[in-house]
């Protein structure tokens, strides 16, 4: 209680300082992201990447007549917190646009407030199909499950898989990941033996694996993140389940290989971002990130980096006298943004991003591009 009161006071003070600064040309972008709690490692990566992009932008001359500032708020990936922060950002007149939140669940909770108040919101990761349908104010820099699911279903079909099981995390994202894949896979004539949902935080998948083994599918499709993925792959090896494993792009993370060890070999997945991509934009980003934080950036970092970049281009387009309305319109016109996650265009009607995807597999403990 004390802390939230203190937070509110600080927020009010910052809002006051912000509105005073607005006259001298400060543009504030709010960023709501998990900086504590179970998902804090994602939030930290977003902050790192956004800081790098903003610094790059300033080093390249920045925006004449305005100083762009990022204001981070910790949502803990909790929908309730996300809504509180959304209200805080909306009330702060100096904020013209918002990045975040992390999960579809938190992003969608906040989106209702942004939609009502007319605040452009660009999430780097919210991939639930309904997110951008909330209002014209929502944008995202991630291809959705309605794009990725059918892509992976088609890939498996090409590889001769006709019988598959789906294992998915029980949240908004997991549900849409599983259903988009399953629908597309069935449409190609395949059979889905079952969709097994597990609660977030589950690390023991042996019961699910045993249940799947009974139905003997040729492959399993994983809608989960790398930590669950690592446990899943290890336990699959323990139990000796023979089915091949395909996964959503959310599994693409070096840490998956470190955690799962040899059990990770043979996993198939697709992704927009690959650090080994020789593209100069990618290499510049990877180099800077590595120099500053000591690790190779993952897909989440790349998405936040591009989200920040898209936001900056839109701000430039809207000019130093930017408003929430003009920023929204500028975001909607995003076309062929040369990002590290592929050239990005927002569809003029649906506002869905369009990007290129690469197919990968893990072999000998490394991600390799495959056909």
């Amino acid at each position: 209680m004390r802390i939230s009161l203190l937070g509110a006071l600080m927020g009010a003070a910052m809002a006051w300082a912000g509105s005073a600064a607005a006259q001298t040309g400060t543009i504030v972008i709010g960023y709501e992201l998990p900086l504590s709690g179970d998902s804090s490692h994602y939030g930290e990566v977003f902050r790192n990447a956004a800081d790098i992009k903003l610094q790059e932008f300033k080093d390249a001359g920045g925006m004449p007549g305005a100083n762009i500032v990022l204001r981070y708020e910790d949502s803990k990936n909790d929908p309730k917190e996300a809504r509180n922060i959304a209200q805080l950002f909306v009330d702060d007149k100096s904020i013209v646009g918002v990045l975040g939140d992390f999960s579809s669940t938190a992003s969608m909770a906040a989106a209702e407030i942004y939609a009502k108040a007319g605040m452009p919101q660009l999430s780097q990761t919210a991939s639930h199909p309904d997110f951008v349908k909330i209002s014209k104010w929502q944008f995202r820099n991630i291809t959705t499950q309605s794009y990725e699911g059918p892509f992976n279903a088609g890939w498996m079909h090409e590889m001769g898989v006709s019988k598959a099981a789906v294992v998915a995390i029980q949240n908004d994202w997991g549900l849409s990941c599983a259903s988009n894949f399953a629908d597309a896979f069935k449409a190609k004539g395949g059979t889905v033996t079952s969709i097994e949902y597990f609660n977030p935080g589950t690390r023991d998948f042996r019961s699910i694996l045993t249940k799947i083994a009974r139905a003997a599918p040729q492959a399993m499709y994983l809608c989960m993140f790398y930590e669950e993925g690592a446990s899943f792959l290890q336990q699959r090896q323990e139990l000796g389940v023979a089915a091949q494993v395909y996964g959503a792009s959310s599994l693409f993370e070096d840490q998956l290989i470190k955690l799962a060890g040899p059990a990770a070999n043979g996993l198939f997945l697709s992704s927009n971002f690959m650090p080994a991509n020789p593209d100069p934009n990618v290499q510049k980003f990877v180099g800077e990130y590595k120099a500053k934080y000591g690790v190779v950036p993952n897909q989440f970092a790349a998405q936040a980096y591009d989200a920040m970049g898209i936001m900056l281009v839109a701000l430039q387009k809207a000019g130093p006298k930017v408003t929430r309305d003009s920023l929204r319109d500028a975001l909607a016109q995003t076309k062929d943004y040369p990002g590290v996650t592929g050239a990005t265009t927002f569809d003029p009607v649906t506002r869905e991003p369009q990007k290129s995807v690469v197919r990968m597999t893990i072999s000998n403990g490394e991600y390799m591009v495959t056909q």
Binding site: S40, R203, R206, Q234, G240, Q255, L259, G261
Partner: protein
């Protein structure tokens, strides 16, 4: 009906249950003495895992040496925890305070506070993602018994549970320290009247309980491959449920209920879905409380 897959599910369930049981042993010991829940037990478990992992990364000693050092770390953590969260509430020695429920139950919150602060501090230091464990130490090597599959970790955890149970029974019923612990558990006031150093007995209980907790942490961490600051939370709750179902102060009862919970979870996954696991586990808890208010193995102890 009983085919190989169902048999494998029961094996899976028993190995989940063993994890809960390993944690429930130390948890129940502390409850039995103090009559109050130690919410920080999950953090002792987590600290045991981190201490073990740091040792493994730094010096790569054999597993047995890791366990011995983690036992020491656990004892130290337990003593520190007792000083920090429990002792301050025993500073009044008059009979009214000793009998006061409020004084005793205040430690519920102080241990919860220690648990939250420790967990968040560890997150600040190590981050909340899963720690990388050297592959050679993972207790995940498959062992096939006919058509069934278990791992070396299952065997090690089973053996540890048995050793812990036997050692604990020996300690409680064959040593002077055990005698004083049982005396304090029976009646703290009475124990004081006959000249037992209750502070010492309580400290010993925490040291022993936390040794067991910390060892459980590193073994389960290596077994599941999951070492994170929040790793103690979920098994802590299940261990608590097992303890309540088992009758609060019966250690063998808690172990049996922990195994039962584990099997209930895997059977639920087989016939319903993984998402129903917790619901089924807690439904058993409620059913136990309704039909057996003393727990399944409780002796109906008089409570002040």
């Amino acid at each position: 009906m009983l085919d190989v897959y169902l048999a494998q599910q029961i094996v899976n369930g028993l190995s989940i249950g063993l994890v809960y049981a390993l944690m429930a042993i130390g948890f129940t010991l502390i409850f039995g003495v103090l009559n109050v829940v130690n919410f920080a037990h999950g953090e002792v478990y987590m600290i045991g895992a981190f201490a073990g992992l740091m040792l493994i990364t730094a010096a790569a000693p054999p597993l047995l040496a890791v366990v011995v050092i983690v036992l020491t770390v656990g004892a130290a953590t337990g003593v520190g925890l007792e000083r920090l969260a429990f002792k301050p509430f025993r500073r009044f020695r008059d009979e009214a305070s000793l009998r006061s429920r409020a004084m005793r139950e205040a430690t519920l919150l102080s241990s919860l506070a220690v648990s939250i602060v420790t967990r968040e501090a560890m997150r600040q230091i190590f981050g909340s993602s899963m720690q990388t464990i050297p592959q050679g130490y993972l207790l995940q090597h498959p062992i096939r018994i006919g058509v069934l599959s278990i791992t070396d970790g299952d065997l090690i955890i089973f053996a540890s549970s048995v050793v812990m149970l036997v050692a604990l029974q020996f300690l409680l019923f064959r040593t002077r320290t055990g005698l004083s612990i049982r005396a304090v558990a029976n009646s703290p006031l009475g124990a004081q009247f006959v000249g037992i150093d209750t502070d010492r007995a309580i400290m010993a209980t925490f040291a022993i309980g936390s040794m067991l907790g910390a060892t459980a942490g590193i073994l389960v961490g290596l077994y599941t491959g999951t070492i994170t600051p929040q790793m103690g939370f979920a098994p802590g709750i299940k261990a608590f449920v097992a303890m309540v179902m088992g009758g609060l102060s019966s250690i063998p009862g808690a172990v049996i209920c922990a195994l039962f919970l584990g099997v209930a979870e895997s059977i639920t996954t087989e016939f319903l879905a993984s998402g129903w696991q917790d619901l089924v586990a807690y439904a058993f808890l409620i059913a136990t409380l309704v039909f057996f208010p003393q727990g399944l193995f409780g002796v109906g102890r008089e409570r002040a």
